[in-house]
Symmetry: C2
Subunit: 178 residues, 2 copies
C-alpha cells in the first residue's frame, strides 16, 4: 500500500504561495536537487487540491502545468466538486478518505504525493499522512496561502527524520507521529 | 556597533505562539543546545515587544520570566506605549529606529536580539535586521501568532548561512539580503 507524503515548498514564514497565488518567489531555488529527483522517482501518483491545480493550469510554460515541472509522468488526481475538462487528470469529489484510497491505489507501492494546503489539512485531520517533506525557501512573504491553517483541534506532532541543504533551500523530512 | 539578530522559535507551519499565546508546544525540544548557549553569550541586549514580554511575565517559574529562561543576564528593553512597573526592564515607546538605536547601544559590540512578531516586522520593514536565527520545532499548530505577517510590500530575501540540528529541532541561520 502506498505511503502518503505531503510535499510542499514554503517560504520561511510558512506560505506555500504568495499573495494572488504567486509562485515566482520560488524561482531560481533548488532546481537541481538530486534528493528531490530521487524522491520523484518514488512517487506513484499525485493528489492535489483544486487551487493548486488551477495555479498549475495557468502556467505559461507547458511543463509547469504538470507536477514537478514535467519530471513526473504518473497519474494525477485532483479533488474538486466542479471538475473542468482535462483529459490528463482524474477528478475526484467527495470524501477525503475515498479520494486518498483511490489515488493511493494508483500509486501502487510508491508514494502518493499530496499537494495543496486544503487537501493536506483534510488529510492531516483524517490522519492519512505518513510523511512530510518541506522545502524551506529563504524568503519572507508575509501574506498568501498558509502551509497549514486550522481553527481548532490538537496540534500535530511530527518526527524529524532527515534534514539536508540544497544551495539556499533547506529540505526537512518528517514522519507523522501517532 | 551591535548587529541586530531576530531570534525566534517557530512551529513548522510558521507560528511563534499557539492559540491564546500558548508556548507549551515548545517544551521538551532543544533545551540543551550548545549552539544556542554559545549564541546567548554573544547577545548584549534584548528588545522585545509587549506581547512577548507579557507572555514571559505570566510564567509561573521565575526563570522563564527572563529571556532565554534566565540564561541571559544583560539589559532587556520592551517596546510599549503603556509601560507597567518592572524595575528589571527598560520600557521604550515610539519610533522603532530610536528603540533599536537605544537597545543596540546597550548591546555594545555584541548582538541585539529581537523577540516578538510585531517588533520583528517593524524592524524588517525598517531594514534594521542583520541576521535571523529560527529554531523549527516539528509540530503543526494551525493557528496562533505568526512569525511574520504583513499585508503589503516587497518580499524579504534572506541568505541561508548555516543549518544545524539539535535533536528534533532544526536551527536555521540567515543574513538579510540588501
Amino acid at each position: 500500500m502506498a505511503l502518503v507524503l505531503w510535499h510542499a515548498t514554503m517560504s520561511l514564514d510558512g506560505f506555500i504561495a504568495g499573495p494572488a497565488d504567486s509562485m515566482d518567489w520560488m524561482l531560481g531555488f533548488g532546481e537541481e536537487d538530486s534528493e528531490v529527483n530521487e524522491l520523484i522517482k518514488k512517487i506513484g501518483a499525485v493528489l492535489s487540491g483544486r487551487r493548486t491545480y488551477d495555479v498549475g493550469a495557468g502556467q505559461e510554460r507547458p511543463e509547469f502545468r504538470r507536477p514537478y515541472g514535467g519530471a513526473f509522468s504518473g497519474p494525477v488526481f485532483v479533488l474538486t466538486h466542479k471538475p473542468p475538462h482535462d483529459p490528463d487528470v482524474t477528478f475526484l469529489s467527495g470524501d477525503i478518505r475515498a479520494a486518498v484510497e483511490t489515488a493511493a491505489g494508483a500509486a501502487g507501492d510508491k508514494y502518493l504525493a499530496i499537494f495543496g494546503a486544503d487537501v493536506a489539512r483534510q488529510c492531516i485531520e483524517a490522519r492519512l499522512i505518513d510523511e512530510v517533506m518541506i522545502h524551506v525557501v529563504p524568503v519572507l512573504l508575509g501574506d498568501g496561502v498558509r502551509l497549514f491553517s486550522k481553527q481548532q483541534g490538537e496540534l500535530i506532532h511530527l518526527e524529524l527524520t532527515r534534514m539536508s541543504r540544497n544551495g539556499q533551500v533547506t529540505n526537512l523530512r518528517f514522519s507523522v507521529v501517532g
